[in-house]
């Protein structure tokens, strides 16, 4: 499929996607959002003690997800990040493929641009296929979702699937209303640790 054909298929809006990813969650879903719009999206879906918003360290969201998934094997860790954020550290897919946690989902909200900085194109609109990269790194469940129907099929796996579930969701490159999550990581850190371990 050419890049032009791909773009004409894209219809999903980022907030709708994130709302569905975390719908009806309990304390068994631990969410990490990557820098920029995914943080605003996760905040817009409703602040939660089991959310950790990574508002810095671009490229570290999936790595944090790996540590959290290994530390909390009975719960699902969900990393929600952007294509630009993940492109900064593709090596982490190799590390995750080898470490093979049984409970880690990574969702890439792929708008094919660096939205926060003026919508400059990222590599994903120009031939780089993140799901193929993930598969080549040993992550067997790796796919790209273009439509609501495909998202419907992917959602149960993202929330409950075995192993590492890597999903690229192609989204429209539109900005949504800015919703700012708590910005102090000391707060969100203590909140999640306390909820998980009973100690600060």
């Amino acid at each position: 499929m050419t890049a032009t054909q791909t773009k004409s298929k894209i219809s999903l809006a980022r907030r709708d996607v994130v709302n569905q990813l975390v719908a009806n969650r309990g304390n068994d879903l631990l969410a990490i959002s990557g820098i920029g719009s995914p943080c605003w999206d996760l905040a817009a879906s409703g602040d939660h003690p089991m959310n950790f918003y990574l508002n810095g360290a671009m490229g570290s969201a999936a790595a944090i997800g790996l540590g959290l998934a290994l530390a909390q094997p009975e719960k699902r860790t969900l990393v929600i990040t952007g294509d630009g954020e993940l492109l900064m550290s593709l090596g982490i897919l190799a590390t995750i493929g080898v470490a093979a946690p049984k409970n880690l989902s990574i969702v890439v909200l792929d708008n094919e641009v660096y939205l926060e900085t003026g919508a400059q194109p990222t590599h994903t609109g120009r031939g780089v296929d993140l799901a193929a990269v993930a598969r080549a790194c040993g992550i067997r469940s790796a796919e790209t979702v273009y439509s609501q129907a495909e998202l419907d099929t992917a959602l149960p796996k993202i929330r409950q699937g075995d192993g590492v579930i890597f999903t690229v969701v192609k989204i429209l490159p539109d900005k949504a209303k800015l919703v700012i999550p708590p910005l102090e990581a000391t707060y969100t850190k203590h909140r999640m640790r306390e909820a998980l371990t009973g100690k600060p």
Binding site: A63, L66, L70, I92, V98, K189, M192
Partner: protein, 178 residues
């Protein structure tokens, strides 16, 4: 000085300190200076050892481990410290602990000039990012230094790096084959 388990080799002592302080996640980029310690950790079914492609992944991973209530340690070479800088910002901003054990290159008697710039800058760049730095040069000091670094990191929730000096590890000599 031997640990409570009686280990006299400093590499075994570090492993014993990990056990005594409930360090269960060990992330590393392999290095000759850490080779024996990595083997000990990999052989321990209660430890999760993760090989990284680059050192900054380990900083991120151990932030996640701590969020999930697990203590970890990062084993890297001094050259890899340079790969960690922006990830370290999360530790300072969020008051996260980190126990980082760095085997040094580019310092004592280094024979590979490419290693010198990063080795010489290691302490300075760590301190610039808010990491507290200990250095150990003598085998007899390893146990006390790693133990103190572990207590400082996890009890006071700060990032701490222990530099294992090239004088301790042994300087790597490069001799071309005849």
């Amino acid at each position: 000085m031997a640990t409570t388990n009686g280990a006299t080799d400093w590499r075994d002592q570090i492993y014993d300190i990990f056990r005594a302080n409930d360090v269960r996640h060990v992330a590393h980029v392999p290095d000759g200076g850490h080779a024996k310690l990595i083997k000990r950790c990999e052989a321990d079914p209660e430890m999760q050892t993760v090989t990284l492609t680059t050192e900054e992944e380990g900083v991120g991973m151990l932030i996640g481990s701590w969020l999930g209530g697990v203590r970890g340690a990062l084993l890297i070479q001094s050259s890899g410290v340079g790969n960690c800088m922006n990830a370290l910002s999360v530790l300072k901003h969020g008051k996260f602990p980190l126990l980082m054990i760095v085997s040094m290159r580019g310092t004592w008697g280094e024979g590979m000039p490419w290693q010198v710039p990063m080795g010489q800058a290691t302490r300075e760049v760590l301190e610039a990012m808010g990491v507290i730095v200990y250095e150990v040069e003598r085998p007899d000091d390893v146990h006390a230094t790693i133990e103190a670094a572990s207590w400082l990191a996890f009890d006071s929730s700060v990032p701490v790096a222990v530099l294992l000096a090239q004088r301790l590890i042994g300087t790597k000599k490069f001799v071309a084959a005849a």
